[in-house]
Symmetry: C2
Subunit: 577 residues, 2 copies
């Protein structure tokens, strides 16, 4: 999968797919595409409502964007389209500006799409794709857990039939629901619970049940994912047969306009564009991280790799495609990509098949959704985001790296309390702060010779040979502004504690970077030691660090020598009594 | 100077001074104290005006705060009192709330003092003194240059006699001066230029001139610093003799109230306190950094050390003392501390002598300041901050570490354009961003055996022996969220490029930290390589990193072994063909 970088063909990965395509592949892609297409329909409609958009916007998000990604994406199994987290972020960003389901709301959503797409392309252009790495795993874990909880809370209204305002804070929303508990529509709740139970049953027992009738399927068989389709159909039939909507006030989707999406132009209004930028950037980054990590996971299983730069282009273009077809921001879907993989999808052709299913749905099957109850969709959304939650990591990470658990919890709480953008930014800032704090307290060890050999280890953990008159000190960190004072302090303390010291040897094997503040500190140490009659030596200095030390004339002013290895240094200094 | 940490005596360093005090010391301290006292008077008055305060506030800042620092400070030569940069920061913070020289202005200034003092004590209490290390050298250099320029611009009004508004931006201020150029008082300008020339002459040629009359003084003799005293006296006499104030409208200080400071209580107003907090924190941090770096420089010359924690206490208490005596924030003065050192000051007793000089001045000599022209003070301030400027470092740093030069220039420009707080925060954020960026692009090297020896170096720079079936890879950076994806990518690229690889050995000598994101990446690599039929091994893993790898069960799942040294690993793996 490694392609030469400056080849225009590398920008159109579909060409490689076509060149290598075999008849056998199509058989697999067809099956996978049909399965994914069928399970996509209820998800797309449900996420559209989550985003505050009409159901067809969800289906449109599976057309042009999905096809664009199939042509440009470097992952062979990733399925791009509507996803729950992006839908939540759209709802949070747009609901300030327009009422849900209105035309203005859809217009603003397409602006978000367009900006997110352009932002991804800019990241590619500026070679800044690495920025997304600032979202550490704990930040993502905290964010996803909070987002899942926010999504579940946002679905409670549809689940219970309780309407009411749309307060920004999840706590207010829960209080709001409790205050209006008298509006509870018990038929809706029954439908919701039944649907949730149905989806859960399929996830857990579909494969096992098949075994009862003699079919031995693998545990991850796509049949475990078709629950949403089955319950949606069942719920729609139940409503239709029992006239549950007119008789018991069960809220249903109502008419979905048939036909393919028309070309739409996102509205342009400078103030609005500027206001939306932070939200768009967040949506872009989160969508990219989500897509990239799913893509990597699937590619690794097939022992191929995906190209992060090409993914920026593909996802950026897909979102721009969404903007011009009245859809909403798209990303790689974890559930549908897994189904695609499990169902045997081999190439992006399965995504093309999937969009054919969506086209057919839009042309011929929209009347089927008329009486689909909202409670069923809410149940589908809730069960699907439950799968994203991961509470175990809070605890396991605590034993490995506490700072990361703190970051995870703080991100979780700030996303819940102050929204997605504030939460993610807080998480990133906290991760960086912890990293800087950690590297500002470096481990500094006196090292000595292990046995007679050429190896040196810390005198604290190992029984090593040292000299009275030589302090061999290993600094286990980059020497830079945040720890320069600390390093200086520790070095001088060691020297003060060993009055017989005549030589200080800095073992630099773990120093990868020295900045100006670090350099000035080293120069000061060199002078201070000189005044105390102590000579300063270096060993195992890495190339890039050496270049800086030379540029700063530190090596010329150094009172001692630079040794290639600590072994040589200690042989030499050991004899200079 | 290393004192046991939990000894109450260590909180009162003056006790050690008294115990070791000899008659000979007093002789030196007396001379130094008198010299410093005399040069302090005009500086204190000049900085008071710079801060927007009446002249006596400057003198008060040399009394209680100076005595408190003498009792608590761990530096023996540092002279604490009014300084130019803190005065500028006071003016910037307080001028929003009250007109300069008013009682309200002084009240708000004492709040700043109190908050800055409390903030320093809190930093000590929370053991967060290390926070000040976030101000890297380039940030400080950029800030000091900008502050010096701001101070010089702020003095142009007094220098030229042009009054006018006090616009926040230095550019507006220059335009303002240009627009009101008709107000220019040429007598003031002549006095200012003459005084500046006089100070400059003393700085440059006082020692050389003494040689003409047969006195051979060292180049750094305090006589080079008494220029301000001489020109202030000369200017005062000139104004008095020529009635320049009444005849030519030369602005003079006017009456300075005689007597010692009274106890003052900083006003309490919650909103005001909250508003001032960021400014106070900045003043505290900058004052501490300034004091600590001067203290360290002087202590190093005497081969002693200063205690950073004790300095937080001493400077915090000194500022609280300033708050209750109607003074303004104090810090270690670079110029007066140097004079103290050069004049032979040996202990904080010289600071006590200095405050006696100030007491005598306040009691008996205030009438002498009546006709001291503002232009002379402006000249003194301008010359003194010119000494703080350092433009050379912009260029020298560029050749060593470009990012630091960028940080320095950006800090300089943002301090000029958006004020001290925004500038410093921008500088700190930029330093951290560059550091994270640097460590997010780690150097990853294939290493091999140098000659027949036990040492391994990068195959790019050295002629080393490697094996076809073993990729020994050294990661020259901590493995954490910002570079985990990058490291994974590079490792897999190396493996893809060498199809005969059967073993990957990660040489961990430069890895000091692995976080959760890094761990997950390593686990993924372990699995990916396993699927490719490649075994993953580690060597030279540091203790703390090993502990984390074990806690995360990575070592148990590792397909290969952990070797103590790369030498052992390569001997072992070399034979496993």
């Amino acid at each position: 999968m490694l392609q030469p970088v400056n080849n225009w063909r590398s920008y159109l990965p579909i060409l490689d797919v076509i060149r290598e395509y075999r008849r056998d592949d199509f058989h697999h892609d067809l099956v996978a595409g049909l399965v994914v297409g069928v399970i996509t329909v209820p998800q797309a409609i449900a996420y559209a409502f989550l985003a505050g958009l009409p159901p067809e916007a969800g289906l449109y998000a599976c057309l042009v964007p999905m096809v664009i990604y199939a042509l440009l994406g470097s992952s062979r199994q990733l399925v791009v389209g509507p996803v729950a987290v992006a839908a939540l972020m759209v709802a949070a960003a747009v609901s300030e500006y327009a009422p849900a389901y209105s035309d203005a709301y859809l217009g603003i959503t397409t602006v978000l799409c367009l900006q997110a797409g352009l932002f991804l392309l800019l990241l590619r252009l500026w070679n800044m794709g690495g920025l997304v790495n600032l979202l550490s795993l704990p930040v993502i874990a905290g964010f996803v857990n909070a987002a899942a909880l926010l999504i579940i809370i946002s679905q409670l209204g549809a689940f219970t039939g309780i309407s009411g305002g749309n307060p920004a804070s999840p706590l207010d929303r829960l209080l709001d629901l409790a205050a209006n508990i008298d509006q509870l529509n018990s038929t809706s709740v029954i439908i919701g619970v039944a649907c949730a139970g149905g989806v859960w049953f399929f996830q857990r027992y579909a494969v096992a049940s098949m075994r009862l009738i003699g079919l031995n399927l693998p545990a991850q068989h796509p049949i475990s994912r078709i629950g949403p389709v089955v319950v949606a159909i069942a719920a729609g039939i139940a409503v239709a047969l029992g006239d549950l909507d007119t008789r018991f006030g069960v809220a249903v989707i109502g008419e979905v306009p048939a036909g393919l999406p028309a070309f739409t132009l996102p509205p342009f209004n400078l103030d609005l564009w500027l206001d939306l930028m932070p939200a768009s950037a967040m949506i872009a980054v989160v969508s990219y991280v989500e897509s990239y990590s799913i893509g990597t996971t699937l590619a690794t299983r097939k022992r191929t790799r995906i190209n992060s730069n090409q993914e920026l282009i593909a996802l950026g273009a897909a979102n721009i495609g969404a903007a011009f077809t009245g859809a909403y921001p798209v990303a790689g879907s974890f559930s549908r990509s897994s189904v695609n993989y499990q169902a045997g999808g081999r190439t992006p052709v399965s995504s093309l098949i999937c969009s054919v299913v969506i086209v057919l749905t839009l042309l011929f099957f929209t009347p089927l959704f008329d009486r689909l109850p909202h409670a069923a969709l809410a149940a589908i959304v809730m069960l699907s985001v439950l799968g994203l939650m991961d509470l175990k990591s809070f605890r396991t990470h605590w034993h490995i790296y506490r700072e990361d658990t703190v970051t995870q919890i703080v991100t979780f709480l700030t996303v819940l309390g102050f929204g997605v953008e504030t939460g993610l930014i807080t998480g990133v800032v906290l991760s960086i702060a912890f990293f800087v704090r950690q590297s500002s307290r470096p481990h500094i060890a006196i090292v000595g010779r292990v046995g007679d050999g050429p190896h040196f280890r810390t005198a604290k953990r190992y029984d090593v040979e040292t000299f009275q008159h030589v302090a061999a000190i290993r600094i286990d960190e980059n020497v830079y502004f945040a720890n320069a004072a600390q390093v200086e302090n520790k070095l001088l303390k060691i020297v003060h504690r060993r009055p017989s010291t005549k030589h200080v040897l800095l073992v630099c094997s773990a120093i990868n970077l020295v900045d100006i503040s670090g350099l000035e500190m080293l120069e000061r140490i060199n002078q201070t030691l000189d005044r105390m009659g102590i000579t300063l030596h270096l060993s195992e200095v890495k190339g890039p660090v050496m270049a800086r030390l030379e540029a700063a004339r530190f090596i010329i002013n150094l009172t001692g020598s630079v040794f290639f290895t600590t072994d040589q240094a200690m042989r030499d200094l050991g004899e200079r009594l």
